[in-house]
């Protein structure tokens, strides 16, 4: 069966070109970049080259790129690293109520450590109002962390605007751009951020690799100690193959960005329009304009998400849901809740995230199968 993989916000397949460029670094070019001999230098060169490539793509300096194990570590380092480094200066952090758990739970951890965190709420379209951020700033605020684009509903936050506010008050600004890297401009100067998180597995690169961009002069307390790699901020032997692969993936993502965005917007809108037409009682979650080109998030009232997801899977369609039934905590998605919707709405929410391999046929397949699934589940539901 052909698999229509519409869960690209969860992870993407590795691009062939990325895979190819990585392979020699697992075997032939196995050196440790920290070694002085030729094998070491060969590896070091590759890491340096990758660092330069990445820096250029986001308008940064090579020494502002810190390689880490992925988006989660990058978020942790940005937030905990800043908080610990600046704790003499203040103890207040501002974030939003729709962040990824890598940010959310990290902030909760800091609360346990005595920091104060304000979780600013988004408006019902899933977008934060910079004024709401500004209002919560206190003399003790040391960090603002806001995702560039949301992983569940794809809404795009006004990062540049918020960065300006942060800068004027001398507050460190962090953004998690894992989801947006493939679709939006992630030039750090235009965004005006001090810290930015990127990750390989959402941009057709390998899993287990990410970066934290840290603007020159930003002080971070390390989370991992050891051999002093990455200027001492992130010890551990550089993961050379993944670093090389990440740089290639980012390069490709950059080169196809505009074309892909245009293509996916068409497919996305076709999917939304088709579902609206074919299924009653549905609700589109999140702003339709300020939204990633590849994200569709819809609630089908009276139907449970996990059931829909598994039926879709049996038809060869991979999606995801914000249903309480499929979460580890049995809590419905905090993002859908943040939009002011009922628990029932998040219960019946499905997310389709399109990608580089998504075709018109995939969309048509969803439009053919999903209405049948929703209808049959509504028929067996005691509340429909």
């Amino acid at each position: 069966m052909h698999i229509s993989y519409l869960d690209n916000a969860a992870t993407t397949p590795v691009d062939e070109r990325v895979l190819k460029i990585m392979l020699p670094y697992f075997s032939d070019k196995y050196g440790n970049p920290g070694s002085m001999h030729q094998k070491g230098l060969e590896a070091k060169e590759a890491v340096d080259e990758a660092r330069k490539t990445i820096a250029k793509l986001i308008s940064a300096e090579p020494n502002e790129i810190i390689f880490v194990s992925g988006g989660t570590e990058s978020d942790n380092l940005a937030i905990i690293g800043t908080a610990m480094a600046l704790k003499e200066k203040g103890n207040h952090i501002i974030t939003t109520n729709i962040e990824h758990h890598a940010v959310f739970d990290t902030c909760e951890y800091l609360e346990e450590q005595g920091f104060k965190v304000t979780y600013v709420g988004v408006k019902e379209n899933g977008i934060i109002d910079p004024k709401d951020i500004e209002k919560t700033i206190t003399p003790k605020t040391i960090l603002i962390s806001i995702m560039h684009a949301n992983n569940e509903i794809g809404t795009i936050q006004p990062i540049a605007e918020i960065s300006k506010i942060a800068k004027s008050k001398d507050i460190i600004m962090h953004t998690d751009a894992c989801q947006s890297a493939g679709y939006l401009d992630i030039d750090v100067n235009k965004l005006g951020v001090d810290l930015m998180t990127l990750n390989g597995s959402k941009i057709y690169g390998p899993k287990g690799i990410g970066i934290l961009y840290a603007k020159k002069g930003t002080i971070l307390q390390p989370l991992i100690y050891g051999g002093g790699q990455e200027k001492g901020v992130r010890s551990g032997t550089e993961n050379v193959p993944l670093i090389v692969g990440f740089a290639k993936a980012l390069e490709i993502a950059h080169s196809v960005r505009d074309k892909e965005s245009k293509r996916l917007i068409k497919l996305r809108d076709k999917l939304v329009a088709g579902l609206k037409k074919k299924i009653s009682n549905i609700h589109i979650n999140g702003d339709l304009e300020k939204r990633l080109p590849n994200n569709v998030n819809i609630s089908f009232l009276g139907v449970e998400g996990e059931s829909m997801l598994l039926h879709l899977d049996s038809k060869g369609i991979c999606a995801s849901t914000g249903s309480a039934c499929s979460s580890h905590s049995l809590e419905p998605s905090h993002v859908i809740k943040a939009l002011g919707l009922t628990d029932e709405a998040s219960h019946g929410s499905l997310r389709f995230t399109l990608g580089r391999h998504t075709t018109e046929e995939d969309i048509e397949k969803v439009l053919k199968e999903l209405p049948k699934i929703v209808e049959s589940l509504r028929k067996i539901s005691p509340i429909a």
Partner: protein, 206 residues
Amino acid sequence: MKKTKQKWFYSEQVKEHFFNPKNIFKSQEEAKKYKADGIGMVGNPKCGDMMKMWIKVDKKTQTIKECRYQTFGCASAIATTSVLSEMVNGMKLDKAFRISPKEIVDKLGGLPQIKFHCSVLGDKALRAAINDYYRKTDQIEKIVTDSPVVDETLKITENDIENAVIEGARTLKDVQARTKVGVNNKKILPKIEGLIEKFKEKHGFK
């Protein structure tokens, strides 16, 4: 080309019952027209789990002739009710009343711990339906409200919490994974924690 089997998250039994639920009402009309001797409904649409069960009873033998249902819930909820509806067919009411979630889960070849509470749902709906039948047939003395209700919305009783502890739950999280008790009502959490400690003590798990 070698054909690889499609992977599936739960057990094969769950798969069968999820894709082909037995005894389920396939339309709202069918459910509406059905003449049941007892009806039970449990759950809460807000948290997502909702189950309604209809039984037909052979009055002479006090056995279940038919067990039908509708479900708003996950795959485990659908599958557990489906298998339960088969298990109780032809079963004496008092025996059906005593079926435990664990028996249902075993029949399905196991469920992830976090999904145990889905099996409790079908079980509760069944007991509610049986009680309803007793009520309607003036056998009030037979009604068992098994123990004090702790969570009003989900109709979770002290007994349910005790069962969860006996089956291996040790913390509030464990118990919630099995029963969902208090998920919608944070105010009763301290009380639940107290009960968990009490039952751990009682069964020597301390």
